[in-house]
């Protein structure tokens, strides 16, 4: 059993929790993830490690389906059954260059830990974080603290640049030499944004989020096509060279269980006083 030490709602449907999991915390590096199972009936779901503090690891997630709604409803002091990790390969790093760490939506969760690793490796670090609107923007202060420069975009212009993270990236690419870029967010955002760096030949990583089961290379559920080859995101990734990734098949595979996910969520909500947004019933 792993104790939840602290919970915070960061934005609409976006939650942050700190869990006591020493074996994960002591080994976690940028770019890695955990697999959480809430209880005996639970599904194993992957979430990026977005911070470490002593024996605690932080995950930030959006309540989208049954498991993430359930997780959002847990309060500090409660427990989850399993936390496995850290899983996946740590982010590849360079030193002495200019790195750009881009996050969109809840994908911003992964950015501070990567930005910090890039900074620690002696790079000039630029952050670009975006959201649909100002209310959905997360981790601005943390990113500001770790990055040398930080840009903010919102789709509706309510904060920072009016537009997409890819717009800021285009401007940067035109102005200066970039050495390494990370783009993390919904698959479609990663596809579009990493497409921007391709003509410039700038090495770009994306963190892929296919559906997983074991996270140890045993099932092949997480297979993705990279450079025309089948790779397992849980052990060969989750970060891959963006310009080699077949995003369309990733997006199609993420939809395998759409019907079942709906059933599970409706059943969960019917059992939990019908709160729509994963409210904190236990508090």
């Amino acid at each position: 059993m792993y104790k939840i030490e602290e919970t915070t709602q960061l934005a609409d449907r976006v939650h942050q929790i700190w869990i006591r999991a020493p074996h994960v915390a002591h080994h976690a590096q940028a770019g890695q993830f955990v697999i959480i199972r809430i209880d005996e009936q639970g599904e194993r779901i992957p979430l990026t490690i977005s911070g470490v503090n002593g024996d605690l690891v932080r995950v930030i997630f959006m309540a989208v389906g049954k498991t993430t709604h359930h997780l959002a409803s847990l309060a500090a002091g409660e427990h989850v059954r399993d936390v496995a990790g850290p899983l996946g390969r740590p982010s590849e790093m360079i030193s002495g260059g200019t790195c750009v760490v881009i996050g969109g939506g809840v994908g911003v969760a992964s950015t501070p830990i990567i930005a910090k690793a890039a900074k620690d490796a002696g790079n000039h670090v630029i952050g670009i974080i975006g959201a649909r609107n100002a209310g959905l923007l997360i981790l601005e202060d943390e990113m500001r603290a770790v990055c040398d420069e930080l840009f903010i975009t919102t789709d509706d212009g309510s904060k920072g640049t009016h537009g997409f993270v890819s717009d800021v990236l285009k401007t940067l690419l035109a102005e200066r030499k970039l050495d390494l870029v990370w783009v993390i967010g919904p698959a479609i955002m990663m596809k579009v944004t990493s497409g921007v760096t391709q003509p410039f030949g700038v090495k770009t990583f994306v963190s892929l989020n296919p559906i997983m089961v074991d996270g140890s290379g045993m099932c092949g559920s997480c297979r993705v096509i990279v450079g025309g080859e089948t790779r397992f995101a849980c052990v060969d990734g989750p970060e891959f060279d963006a310009h080699q990734v077949d995003f369309n098949s990733l997006m199609a595979r993420q939809r395998v269980y759409t019907e079942e996910e709906k059933v599970a969520l409706e059943r969960h909500q019917a059992a939990h006083c019908g709160c729509e947004e994963g409210g904190n019933h236990h508090a």
Binding site: V24, H27, A84, C219, R253, R255
Partner: protein, 448 residues
């Protein structure tokens, strides 16, 4: 030993083989000749004193029988169920040529069940502790056996398991209708009761670093052969396409058959095609039958070449699995979701190294089977994750760890055994390897 009726058993995941009653067990045990030089024992990789336990059953001393078995085998209810006895102990029994061999597996199962149902007489933790620390990586049959043997000798054992449950293939792969999960759990609990520490959710190489691992006084790597192969045919990326490992894990470990009470889903499909011909393929096909689908299994060689245990093939056929021999999938049809499997007929050519015919496609002889789920059960190889990270390990051609007769790898205090060393094999061979390595580790400690 009787099986449950087909029309009953394909509706649930309860055990198919019913097991002996006490009277049946005694009758069967009385047939044993109590050979002076028992050949059966030479066929058992863990060396159970088979005549001794059988004579105890014949005498009605079931508890003595169970204790005798457990001196050599900590997982008897499991082995009694899943050992390929026809090629192990029973294959060596002298009665094989005259009569039918003694049904050793069923007797072992009977004694183990009898004892478990009455509450185990758990073996006491060895009181004399040596202070030596051993890390066991992986909690499948190889790891569990090594752990039990080492704990018995007073060493402090920690098993690291990446999944949330121990057992390896026993838990995630072999379906409950062949191996009930309560039995797996009960036998594992017995190993743990010997003072073995189990840490689940630890992927060694990630949750435990290589230097931390090598800091143990000895290491036993038993990570199995869990890496699923894919055929590499067109359409494999579509929805509805599974490796047998994924399909079986979703059902056996995550209980997708009970979705939505359990959260993990699986596509049951109405028309399932399984590719392969081994035990794994049979298991996937029989699970798919229980999930309510029509099931066709496609195998590239002839029926007599099917590598699965005969009993499993018979069970699969009884349960309505259709087997198409001499055919191989070459392409999956569908638009994002699989709708059909295009196969080609195979003809048998010269013999390969294992004495089986080499299948070759007959150009133009193709046909399509409708399918909404396609499961690939074409073989597994050792999971490379950890063994690639430990530098200095010698790795064989099939990605397996190379070990000597004692299970020792190219690093002095690192041993390995089970599927990671042999490639996909059997529960009992994995257990035998765990035992051998444990004995060698113990000797190493004594010599130090």
């Amino acid at each position: 030993m009787l099986d449950r009726k087909v029309n009953e058993r394909i509706r649930d995941f309860h055990e198919v083989a019913l097991g002996f009653s006490a009277d049946e067990a005694i009758l069967e045990a009385e047939r044993c000749l109590q050979c002076k030089k028992p050949l059966c024992v030479t066929g058992c990789p863990v060396g159970i004193d088979i005549p001794a336990f059988i004579s105890a059953i014949a005498a009605g001393d079931f508890s003595v029988a169970a204790t005798t078995i457990k001196e050599q085998n900590m997982l008897p209810a499991i082995c009694g169920r899943v050992c390929p006895q026809e090629t192990q102990c029973e294959g060596a029994c002298v009665l094989k040529n005259k009569d039918t061999p003694i049904n050793i597996g069923a007797l072992e199962r009977f004694a183990a069940d009898w004892e478990r149902e009455r509450g185990f007489s758990a073996e006491q933790k060895s009181r004399e502790q040596t202070g030596r620390r051993v890390a066991v990586v992986g909690s499948g049959p190889a790891g569990l056996t090594a752990a039990a043997e080492l704990a018995r000798r007073g060493h402090k054992v920690t098993i690291f398991e990446s999944l949330h449950e121990a057992g390896g293939v026993l838990s995630y792969g072999i379906p409950a209708f062949r191996l009930p999960k309560e039995i797996v759990k009960a036998e594992i609990d017995q190993v743990l009761a010997m003072g073995v520490d189990l840490k689940v959710n630890y992927l060694v190489g990630r949750s435990v670093s290589v230097p931390e691992l090598l800091a143990f006084d000895a290491v036993f790597i038993a990570t199995g052969a869990g890496l699923p192969g894919f055929m590499g045919i067109e359409g494999e990326q579509m929805n509805g396409v599974y490796s047998a490992n994924e399909y079986l894990t979703r059902v056996n470990l995550m209980h997708a058959d009970q979705f939505p009470v359990f959260d993990t889903p699986v596509k049951a499909g109405s028309r399932v095609v399984v590719a392969g011909g081994g035990n794994v393929a049979m298991d996937a096909a029989r699970v798919a039958r229980r999930m309510g689908a029509r099931v066709t299994l496609v195998y590239r060689r002839r029926e007599e070449d099917l590598p699965a245990r005969r009993e499993e093939v018979v069970h699969a056929l009884e349960e309505g699995v259709e087997i198409i021999n001499c055919a191989a999938p070459i392409r999956l049809l569908g638009d994002g979701v699989v709708t059909g499997v295009e196969c080609v007929t195979m003809k048998m050519c010269g013999l390969d190294g294992s004495g089986r015919p080499t299948p070759e496609p007959v150009a133009d002889q193709t046909f399509v089977i409708d399918a909404d789920v396609f499961i690939e059960a074409i073989g597994q190889s050792p999971n490379p994750l950890l063994i690639r990270e430990v530098s200095g390990l010698s790795i064989g051609a099939r990605g397996n760890l190379v070990v000597d007769d004692d299970g020792r790898t190219s690093i002095g205090h690192v041993f390995a055994g089970g599927d990671v060393a042999t490639g996909a094999a059997t529960v009992i061979l994995a257990m035998g390897a765990g035992k051998t390595a444990a004995a060698a580790i113990d000797r190493m400690f004594k010599e130090q």
